[in-house]
């Protein structure tokens, strides 16, 4: 590896700082009492407490999955605090009332959110350590009947909707981490787009993990009724810590007839240092149910952070003619590990799915694509197209592809393409011989490689993602 390139990669994490806000932290450990405590703190209805307890019971019977291609020390689930919240001061009527310390944090993160909200027309539902502290543009959205708030708020304001849909796409016992989340989730976003409404702006949430040692268990639920459509953006970053932090989120999407949900993520959590110390463990269950006819669920993700990523945003294509999409860029560097991909479950007739996965692996990192395409016997005329490309930077990293294809209907068409390429010294030399420096060269190659995914992102996000990638990979080549 040339020295220039090496120095470029090894730029320290920009967002490594801890905001000092008084936290209200539950004692470490997980048991029924803790779950009752969380539920009580949040003043939850009885049905939600039983939802949690049922999940906890399931969780106790389950074992941590080991099939994924990642390695990490055993997590001690009793050594985690399952609840932490900034001390409630008073209800916030506007952004001006938000803790200035918190605002400064967002400033440092490059998210001047009031401006951002105003200028870009993005409503930001800010999640700060499990509790929503501010919501903007709620008014404007309310005018068209859209509900966009924290899930704990929704539990109180729209209990019937939450109760109707929560856990219907990801059942409480779906997998180890989803069961854990269902038992202890503290907050997240709730979004409901009523019949026939096209959401007038992209909805956006910035997540941030802030208390050392506290697990983060977000829960997001998005429902698009008949003919509704929404584009939801999730972006996150975290401060620098040396102890690993567990993150196990659950996201459920439900699209009814002719509805359309587009969910985009740019994930940049602390990945650990260049030696692999610290970083977030990111075990996420994301699943969309294309329940109605002609409905569409589209996942786009740019995964650049976390020490470990375990994540398979999936689509259940139940409605006839429904469409599922998964566009992913996963970047790993240093000692990061990622096992990510998707599941496309075709149930309805003429359902279609597209998978485009781009893995970029640098340093000593390890990246796996794991994808399942299942065509059920009922899925007459179903079609899938999958494309999995890996790019290796340097020779100490590893990329793996695990496609699982299960076709139970002869009329289905399933196509899978895969490729592996490498950014080599000779490519960079070619650029430099034409006067183009390594940084620009890497960014050009990477952007070319990720083009198909980036063009799925909303404009602003695409620009951010492009920069983030160049930043993550600068210097890793040579």
């Amino acid at each position: 590896m040339s020295a220039v390139l090496q120095s470029l990669v090894n730029q320290p994490y920009k967002h490594g700082f801890v905001t000092d806000i008084e936290s209200d932290i539950a004692p470490k450990g997980l048991n029924e009492d803790i779950i009752r405590l969380i539920s009580a703190k949040k003043d939850e209805p009885e049905w939600l407490l039983s939802f949690r307890l049922k999940a906890y019971e399931k969780w106790l019977t389950m074992t941590e999955p080991e099939w994924q291609n990642v390695h990490y020390p055993k997590i001690d689930f009793q050594d985690i605090s399952y609840y932490s919240a900034p001390k409630p001061k008073k209800k916030l009527a506007s952004m001006d009332e938000v803790d200035p310390e918190l605002l400064r944090t967002f400033e440092k993160l490059g998210v001047p959110m009031h401006e951002r909200a105003a200028l870009a027309g993005v409503a930001v539902d800010v999640i700060f350590d499990s509790v929503s502290v501010a919501t903007t543009y709620k008014q404007k959205l309310a005018e068209v009947g859209i509900i966009f708030c924290s899930i704990s708020e929704a539990v109180h304001t729209h209990p019937e909707l939450v109760q109707k849909y929560l856990g219907t796409v990801v059942p409480v016992g779906d997998n180890y981490f989803a069961a854990l989340n269902s038992a202890v989730f503290t907050d997240g976003s709730f979004c409901f787009i009523p019949k026939g409404v096209k959401c007038p702006m992209d909805l956006s949430t910035y997540f941030r993990i802030n208390t050392e040692g506290s697990g983060q268990f977000e829960r997001t639920l998005i429902i698009a009724e008949e003919g509704a459509s929404v584009s939801y953006l999730e972006g996150c970053t975290a401060p620098r810590f040396d102890t690993n932090q567990l993150h196990a989120a659950v996201v459920e999407l439900i699209a009814l007839d002719n509805a359309d949900i587009k969910y985009s993520t740019v994930q940049n959590w602390y990945a650990g240092d260049e030696k692999g110390v610290g970083g977030i463990y990111n075990f996420v269950t994301k699943r969309g149910l294309a329940k109605g006819v002609n409905s569409r669920i589209s996942w786009t993700q740019v995964e650049t952070g976390s020490a470990i990523t375990w994540k398979y945003p999936s689509c259940i294509l139940r409605g006839d003619n429904s469409v599922g999409e998964f566009y992913s860029v996963a970047v790993t560097n240093n000692y990061q590990q990622a096992d990510t991909g998707t599941k496309m479950i075709h149930i309805g007739k003429n359902t279609r799915s597209t998978i485009v996965s781009k893995g970029i692996t640098a340093g000593h990192s390890n990246s796996s694509y794991r994808g399942l395409v299942r065509i059920a016997p009922t899925a007459e005329g179903a079609r899938n197209y999958s494309q999995c490309d890996s790019m290796l930077i340097g020779d100490q990293c590893g990329a793996h592809t695990f496609p699982y294809i299960q076709v139970h209907n002869n009329s289905a068409t399933v196509e899978h393409e895969a490729s592996t390429s490498k950014i080599g010294e000779d490519q960079l030399f070619y650029f430099s011989q034409r006067g183009i420096g390594a940084e620009e060269a890497v960014s050009m190659i990477i952007n070319g490689f990720c083009k198909d995914v980036f063009q799925q992102l909303p404009m602003e996000f695409a620009v951010e993602a492009t920069k983030l990638l160049s930043f993550k990979l600068e210097g890793s080549v040579g």
């Binding site: 080599g424 030399f429 070619y430 430099s432 034409r434």
Partner: protein, 264 residues
């Protein structure tokens, strides 16, 4: 053309270079002046491409001795991209493929980088498109090469043409063309040679690395050098190439002792 008192563009003295501890270049001396065309010939593995890449600053090679002056600058102090911006151009023997990067995007970035360096106007995508299409006509290249990824899936000859297209765009002070003729059919050879001839003038210089007299019929060199085991062992005029064509290289080895060190 040899011009009286024309300025020296490149001056190489006692250049030694190795790769992975193996010395490949063992003391090269070469002076190239403005307006001149030099041909370097020699057996496979004699070090011609190595010399070209060392000039351009390939990071795999370690320069262990000697000096390279390029337009009065110490070339060895400059990273490869600055050598290129200073006007040194290498047409690669094996141009590498860059999947996913559109040729036109690459060409424009290269062009604008050099333009910026020279304090000249940079072109936006539309302006550049017109400009590059004109240059492509010179080489009889189809415009669809613009939209394809850099060199990806190009035939051997198409890659070579794409190299000369870059030379035409960048207007270098010194062009080193490493076996640009190999892989070209007869018609393409004429087109490319013709293109190169139109780009050479009294203010720049060209080094042609080739195995064949054929190219030198079209681009007539002022000097022909023979490289052997990492040294230039003989230098002559264009007739030397003809002699090599008929006699091969063996006789040089025999006379090596007395002829070594002859230089332009």
């Amino acid at each position: 053309m040899i011009i009286e008192n024309s300025p020296t563009i490149l001056s190489v003295q006692g250049l030694r270079a190795s790769i992975n501890g193996t010395e490949i270049l063992k003391g090269i001396d070469l002076t190239v002046k403005s307006g001149e065309i030099h041909a370097i010939m020699g057996l496979n593995g004699s070090g011609k491409s190595t010399f070209s890449k060392v000039l351009a600053g390939h990071p795999s090679y370690e320069v262990t001795g000697g000096t390279i002056q390029f337009e009065g600058k110490n070339l060895l102090e400059l990273p490869p991209e600055e050598r290129a911006r200073a006007g040194l151009f290498l047409a690669f023997q094996y141009p590498i493929e860059i999947p996913g990067v559109a040729n036109t995007q690459f060409l424009r970035l290269a062009y604008n980088t050099v333009q910026a360096q020279r304090g000249k106007e940079e072109l936006d995508p539309l302006e550049f498109d017109d400009f590059v299409r004109e240059k492509m006509k010179l080489l009889e290249m189809k415009p669809d090469f613009l939209d394809r990824s850099v060199n990806e899936g190009f035939s051997g000859g198409e890659k070579k043409r794409n190299e000369i297209l870059q030379m035409a765009l960048l207007e270098p002070k010194l062009s080193v063309l490493d076996e640009t003729d190999s892989g070209l059919d007869i018609d393409a050879l004429k087109i490319v040679a013709n293109g190169v001839n139109r780009l050479t003038n009294k203010d720049n210089a060209t080094i042609l690395v080739t195995h064949y007299q054929r190219l030198l019929d079209y681009i007539v060199p002022d000097f022909v050098h023979v490289m052997q085991a990492g040294r230039i062992v003989m230098t002559g005029g264009k007739e030397l190439a003809l002699e090599l064509e008929t006699r091969g290289y063996d006789w040089i080895t025999a006379n090596k002792q007395q002829d070594a060190g002859v230089s332009a």
